[in-house]
């Protein structure tokens, strides 16, 4: 299995093709009831949901099999998995040395947007563009608004400009089938996969 596990769930760690555009959509269902005097906003959900639409390309049958296998393990939309946003949601303030579990990020009012409760933004995917290594970590605590204590150290040194820190979303597949587009008999194929966040299932 090429997909490793984080907190007992698989991490879909494959980088999408940005040439096809990696989409990230936020939704919160609601309705505006209008009168001639005043409008009444009504929300149907008390949280925003994130949806990810990523495009992937493969050149081998074995990789495709791994994706299919993961899809089977999840029974389509049934099971949960981790998916990085693959955006630079946070940026290191400065380079860090190896084996650091405390990192400082540029101030983005982290505690305001990501409160210290189980939920969005408390799990990170830290990706080193130099070695192409990714690390999944949980934020245990926040100090001074931008100093994050991780649940375990990052084993390698990271350069601020050559690394990205993405939100690691807890998701499920948003569609009950995978549609592969093949370009030949050797297993060269592309696929677009839709994920949807499960905001209330974070540990």
């Amino acid at each position: 299995m090429i997909f490793s596990q984080y907190l007992s769930k698989y991490v879909f760690h494959l980088m999408p093709i940005f040439g096809v555009s990696a989409e990230e959509t936020y939704e919160q269902k609601g309705e505006m009831f209008e009168t001639n005097v005043v409008d009444y906003p009504t929300v149907f959900e008390d949280y925003p949901t994130t949806k990810l639409k990523h495009n992937y390309s493969f050149l081998s049958k074995s990789k495709i099999w791994e994706v299919n296998n993961l899809f089977d393990l999840c029974y389509g939309r049934m099971g949960a998995l981790w998916v990085p946003s693959w955006k630079r949601d946070f940026k290191l303030s400065s380079n860090i040395t190896a084996n650091q579990s405390i990192i400082t990020i540029d101030d983005v009012q982290y505690p305001v947007y990501f409160p210290v409760v189980p939920g969005t933004g408390r799990h990170l995917f830290i990706y080193d563009l130099v070695t192409n290594q990714g690390y999944t970590r949980k934020v245990d605590s926040v100090a001074s608004g931008n100093i994050l204590t991780l649940n375990s150290a990052i084993p390698i040194a990271l350069q601020a400009e050559r690394s990205i820190i993405s939100i690691l979303y807890l998701c499920r597949f948003d569609i009950d089938e995978l549609e592969w587009s093949y370009y030949g008999p050797e297993g060269n194929a592309e696929i677009t996969i839709d994920f949807i966040e499960l905001p209330k299932e974070y540990a």
Partner: protein
């Protein structure tokens, strides 16, 4: 332990796709019921544990092949088809010749081959259907044991494809720009359960051209020892059989 199956491959479909056009493989049509609450808590229930497959591609044919394709489709809309998974091509790395009881390919590991019972060697014009010997299985990732030998010499580099049992949509439309030409966008719906079933009868006859393919009927079953039995008489109209893990028929419905 027993399993139910009503699968009887009646005709094989040897027409290769036009790779220049879209070839889509829908893998895993699960059915999940989801209820999402106001606060975002979800209740999810799976209604299917085995996914359905679907395959869709375009075929361009001319002359005799075009008329064969049209006849074949028209006469077998009701049938269960044996459809090669064209996107899962495996190349012979050793010759497969009469007397050989195994096929050696470049890569049969990490594949979904384990869920199939038959393999097609060749192409639209010349092909052979062979039963995979699942009792031995693929142990080294490249050698596929088979239950019947080669009908002719197959050269190194020849493609092999796993075959799945599939249904065809009941309506098929051909488009022709010329009287001699036909183009068909075909769609099959495949059940993994069809393909994964190990000990069911299958059309294991050798075919040499699409004309003969039309006459191949899956009136055969393989018992647990790998022996082929012809299904005759009233048995032919049975639609659902209960078969144990060794391939012995327990009862019919």
């Amino acid at each position: 332990m027993s399993a139910y199956s009503n699968i009887e491959i009646e005709v094989y479909f040897p027409f290769e796709p036009n790779w220049k056009e879209a070839y889509t493989f829908n893998r895993g049509k699960y059915s999940t019921r989801i209820l999402r609450s106001f606060t975002g808590v979800e209740q999810r229930s799976a209604r299917r544990t085995l996914p359905l497959y679907g395959i869709r591609y375009t075929i361009d044919t001319i002359n005799d092949m075009a008329s064969k394709l049209r006849r074949m489709i028209r006469g077998n809309l009701h049938a269960i088809w044996g459809v090669p998974l064209w996107h899962y091509g495996m190349r012979l790395t050793q010759k497969f010749v009469p007397g050989d009881m195994s096929i050696v390919v470049d890569n049969a590991s990490n594949s979904e081959l384990s869920t199939f019972t038959r393999i097609m060697i060749g192409n639209s014009y010349l092909s052979q259907i062979i039963n995979y010997d699942f009792t031995i299985g693929i142990t080294d990732g490249i050698t596929i044991p088979v239950l019947s030998t080669a009908s002719r010499n197959w050269a190194i580099g020849t493609y092999c494809y796993p075959i799945m049992a599939a249904e065809i949509a009941r309506s098929q439309k051909f488009s022709s720009d010329l009287p001699l030409q036909s183009k068909l966008e075909i769609e099959f719906n495949i059940s993994k359960q069809f393909g994964s079933y190990k000990s069911i009868y299958s059309g294991g006859q050798v075919i040499d051209n699409p004309d003969i393919t039309m006459n191949v009927r899956g009136l055969w079953r393989i018992d647990g020892s790998g022996v082929l039995h012809e299904i005759t008489g009233a048995d032919r109209i049975d639609t659902c059989w209960e078969v144990d893990v060794d391939g012995n028929i327990v009862s019919k419905y």
